[in-house]
Amino acid sequence: MRVEFDISALKDTKWYELAVRFLFGGAITAITGMLANRYGPVFGGLFLAFPALFPASATLLEKHEQEKKRRAGIANTARGREAAALDARGAAIGSIGLVGFALIAWKLVPMSSGVIALSAALVVWAAISILIWRLRRHRLFLRKGHSGAASHAPVSPKGG
């Protein structure tokens, strides 16, 4: 399975969808700051991994997939849900990478510059997430047939 970067896919995103993401992201960042100031960094830090973006992105993804199928004359509403479920599976893998991000940030932030510490943490997040995703693709990481969404029809002929 090859990972593709298709910049033309961005034109499917509508302005209000961008606005929703901006609002969600901005709101949770502002709220996290307020919580940390009010209740301290131990409590506020939990919200750095709050699923701020997933509800909006999964909902939009489901809608896009349904519209795509509708335009193709296919009345299968399950496709959108399956795409969103695959998104959730990716998020579960990404959250393991996020543990690595937080660990590196925790250790490096006090002893190096913020830019270097956060850049290193971001690289670790990407490395762990991509590694687990690839292992998962090759069925080395999880037991066969234990993947939830994977047991359903793939979203595209290429799989998900």
């Binding site: 901005g26 940390a36 699923p51």
Partner: protein, 112 residues
């Protein structure tokens, strides 16, 4: 004023990660970006500048547990969509209960 600044920076970073994810295929790979550290980068960067490195490092340590809660959240959302056939919005929003229970439970037992 600082809250407004956080709002704008956070919104921009999250939008950037989301746009990057939109252009990626397959969907399970793009899904990794639903757990991207977009909020964390914006928040920790601003916290380092405003509150100092130790404050930010303490937030990052708590984030480890928030990320574990996010794992259970994502698994629950996936389960609600695949097994219980819930659409994305009700699944994603109702699974927030899982994140809150996990994160608050860990905070109450270990971090408080």
């Amino acid at each position: 004023m600082q809250i407004l600044f956080r709002f704008i920076i956070g919104g921009l970073v999250v939008s950037l990660f989301a746009a990057f994810a939109d252009a990626l295929k397959p969907k399970s790979f793009a899904g990794l970006f639903a757990a991207a550290p977009s909020v964390a980068i914006g928040t920790l960067g601003l916290t380092i500048l405003s509150e100092g490195k130790l404050f930010a490092a303490t937030e990052a340590r708590s984030m480890i547990f928030g990320a574990l809660a996010l794992f259970f959240y994502a698994m629950a959302a996936m389960r609600l969509m695949t097994r219980y056939k819930l659409n994305a919005a009700p699944a994603a929003f109702s699974a927030l209960v899982v994140w809150i229970i996990c994160a608050m439970g860990i905070w109450y037992v270990w971090l408080r």
